[in-house]
Symmetry: C2
Subunit: 334 residues, 2 copies
């Protein structure tokens, strides 16, 4: 059997409550008592039972992170940083992969996953605002990564539209006129794909370049999605002098396919992405992309969530946070 608080209390000659007071840094304890208790703890090698503490207190000291796929570099980097930062405040992170499946997203919001965590950082991919709102439950919930301007929900987002417009404008200013966009359909207007598409269209309009639906190629946000999209463009003979991958892995997959087929990057076709994952600096050529301010997103979303959990943030409506972005100009689109 493990050592319990009772054993400590007995060894120190005090009551359970006093041991609890020492463990929880209660202010008014006689110094001699505290030392006696701490000596007993050290001697017995006592460690608090977190499960019992959770059952009684209703807090797990864990936060949930719901994302589509942890093997995607952007999310892997996000999860890694979040874990490090959360640990500084004594919280662990429990990750749930939704694969953008509505049933899994719903379960993460309502089911056992929610029970195990004191609050959620949630990237909604298949649920819309109303669904999220109606199932959000009582515990704190901070949405991540989409620009949902709903006054009822806490949201931390990146500047999808403005940043996508900026990177598109960069291409146009460097003289490109036929910018293929990979990773969304023509009809997408919401979520990260849609918002980045909006930015793309806005930049075209700004420059007086007509929008051409032939240049829009849907695709899964993975390397092979980018490669397949470029293959399709080339095979159907669509002319283009630049590719905007709506995230970095799409762009890197696209770039790979171009190079394999002997298309020069950036000589023949410039390539840009979105995310600034670590790999973007080390690909050949290195990738021009948007840094969406991940560090800021991690820190501020966690701060907001912990403020909600610990009752410091009491705003009735949703709090909205938007991170700064930066254009990273590298070899693939100078």
């Amino acid at each position: 059997m493990a050592v319990t608080m009772n054993d400590v209390a007995r060894a120190a000659g005090v009551s359970l409550k006093t041991v609890s007071n020492v463990l929880n840094d209660y202010e008014y304890i006689r110094e001699s008592t505290r030392q006696r208790v701490q000596a007993a703890i050290a001697e017995l090698g006592y460690e608090a039972n977190l499960t019992a503490r959770s059952l009684r207190s209703g807090k797990t000291k864990m936060i949930g992170l719901v994302l589509s796929d942890l093997s995607s570099p952007y999310y892997a980097e996000l999860a890694s940083r979040l874990m490090s930062v959360a640990a500084e405040s004594g919280y662990r992170v429990l990750v749930e992969q939704s694969n953008a499946d509505p049933a899994v997203e719903l379960a993460a919001l309502r089911g056992p996953f929610r029970q195990l965590t004191d609050g959620l950082l949630f990237t909604p991919l298949s649920m819309d605002v109303e669904e999220v709102e109606s199932h959000r439950g009582a515990k704190p919930l901070v949405l991540l990564g989409e620009h949902i301007l709903d006054p009822r929900l806490d949201v931390v987002t990146m500047q999808n539209e403005v940043a996508a417009a900026a990177v598109t404008s960069h291409l146009l200013e460097s003289g490109r006129r036929r910018v293929a966009v990979v990773g969304a359909g023509i009809d997408d207007t919401t979520g990260s794909p849609g918002l980045r598409m909006n930015g793309y269209r806005a930049a075209l309009a700004d420059a007086g370049v007509p929008f051409d639906p032939d240049l829009v190629v849907p695709g899964d946000w993975r390397r092979d999605g980018g490669a397949d999209a470029v293959a399709a463009l080339l095979e159907r003979g669509t002319q283009f002098d630049a590719v905007f991958g709506l995230n970095d892995v799409l762009a890197l997959g696209a770039m790979h396919e171009l190079l394999v087929r002997g298309v020069k990057v950036p000589g023949d076709v410039a390539v840009v992405g979105f995310d600034d994952i670590d790999e973007a600096s080390f690909s050949s050529p290195s990738l021009t992309t948007v840094s969406p301010g991940m560090d800021e997103i991690v820190r501020r979303s966690l701060a907001l969530l912990l403020d909600r959990i610990e009752g410091r943030e009491k705003t009735a409506g949703g709090v909205h946070v938007e991170s700064d972005f930066a254009l990273k100009i590298r070899e693939s689109a100078p």
Copy 2:
């Protein structure tokens, strides 16, 4: 307040125990009773309180995964697959990043992290066999990724030495003679770096090529580690016609630095890695590497751990599992 088993029992007109029996699929329950209970559960929207269940049963249905850094692609892919496979058996995965810090590794083995999990998948990076053995505790523990032939410990490993020898031999057979190795020191003989170094030396010996300490460059197992190592080699004027990055990100970082400095890959210098992360297929040039059988590692390590947790595997000594590997020959070293 949440709905409890007591509420269900009252609504169904049965005792607590009967509700528990229904929830835990106890065999001998009258069909009519079961239906009454299930109707009450559905009507009240009852969900079991996992914390209470854990406190009483001593099981959390979580397994721990201890690795150095979740943002590293190899570990991100491993964690992602493990979560998916574990979910099939009703287990969640709690990840702990050690950053190869001995204090964190020790804490993961003995502290609260251990308490929260029913068993551990542990990649020891700074602890040696004896330390692990002496702190392993009572709960199941399966070591990952190193070839520690200790009869007391469960280990699932890849064929570090043989695979490293194979990929080195591939370079030698293609005519390379000056193979730089990046990511280990001359004195490393244990852990993944040491074992892969052993394989490298064995392949050289096999081919009658002398070992040259000047070709060995230590470096952090990250992209910038590989880039820095190649920069150092070039700047001190060491001649080499191939680079073996001891893992893929090292190799990709090295390749990037070579290309930036105008060294042709594979024309002037061939590059190989180890891990076969997703990116290895999509870099330019694509990366020749070793696929260490991650899928097999994930499935078999989880199976072994769950067999220990659930009492199906009772072997007193350690069980040893070794995954198959495959050489993936791509453009960087044809």
